[in-house]
Symmetry: C2
Subunit: 216 residues, 2 copies
């Protein structure tokens, strides 16, 4: 059984917050982290194209290098695992072939049986108007992964802090992403809140349902 | 207690898929839908700015109008609830004032006590280089909501189908969003899979962890 009570889901969302101070001594246990990595891998994406890499940084020296590229935010060095979401810089024929190949293999088909699927993706992201925004489209997919990851963390009792305040080109250089076809989009620190984090106790600020949900 | 076993989370992710055929007779119960709306409202966003509206469409006539604007996909009419994620078209002084006001009220502060916070948001999204991509930035935040929503659905046993294949300007017209300061970004149909949906049984296609996760 995979369902949970709605109250559990809502309690997890109430518990989570953008953690500003992590307990630098606490590491996410390996088995729990492996599960979180699997949730990243399982993230849904448009067309199923998975236009991302998830760079998981745990090396203290590397975190130290990234911190000044992140407004010197201590989350970068004090968290247990820093995830950098890198988005595909363009969608190419090779991306389509890769997905078609994987799909054919998973489903016991010949790739030719998926020609229409390939053609539709091609018309959208290579030959179509969205080719011009393919990198931006890939960034959006990374944000699906970010949203799912933050909720997954909360449900597993792991604290997280999403971070847009980073220097993506500098991250690319430090992480060796230059020339890889993937570029840093956003990051998320994960670990455990420090007892001293005064942000943990602040009331959450969300606009009322009546202001953000329009029922039609 | 808000945590769940990692196995439950992974089972939910394995169970979910982009549902192509919904059971048009089944509606999400009101209390369950209310919980899902609360998860939308609780979505984290950069700076906490919540630059979104969630348009929830259940009216059959309106769904019928939207279907031809969605490559005629039957999910639009057959789902129980169609959520349209609309992103703020720009970030203005009023957006900052609204958030500062809500934050001050929630935390028992005078708005002036939050001047630095306001100034940082201003420097980023109004006076800074990201002002030029503020709408795109707002779309990215909508994708956080989309990612969280899809996982929340799966955990509550609700099927979902994310949909980029829609005509956003036409959606804006039909939904009355024109001139609202919010524009359609993406949609997600929610409800219950039809027993006949052959996609439900297909093996999921995800690249192996070793190809998408880079450990550093």
């Amino acid at each position: 059984m995979h369902t949970i009570p709605a109250a559990t889901l809502e309690a997890a969302l109430a518990w989570r917050y953008a953690t500003k101070a992590f307990d630098a001594e606490r590491r996410i246990p390996d088995d729990l982290w492996a599960a979180l990595e699997r949730t990243l891998v399982a993230t849904p994406s448009s067309w199923g194209l998975q236009p991302w890499r998830f760079v998981v940084v745990t090396d203290p020296a590397l975190k130290q290098q990234l911190r000044p590229l992140s407004w010197n935010q201590p989350q970068v060095t004090d968290c247990s695992h820093l995830v950098v979401f890198a988005a595909r810089s363009a969608i190419t024929e090779q991306d389509l072939d890769r997905l078609i190949g994987a799909t054919a293999a998973a489903r016991g088909l010949r790739p030719e049986a998926l020609a229409t699927y390939r053609q539709m993706m091609h018309a959208d992201l290579i030959a179509g108007p969205r080719a011009a925004i393919a990198h931006e489209w890939a960034i959006r997919q990374c944000y699906i992964a970010l949203g799912q990851f933050m909720l997954a963390c909360a449900l597993l009792g792991v604290d997280a802090c999403p971070m847009e305040g980073i220097d993506p080109p500098a991250y690319d250089r430090v992480l060796g992403l230059e020339g890889s076809g993937y570029r840093t989009a956003v990051a998320c620190a994960a670990g455990y809140r420090a007892a001293s984090d005064k942000y943990a106790g602040l009331p959450k600020v969300r606009y009322p349902r009546s202001e953000v949900v329009i029922r039609r």
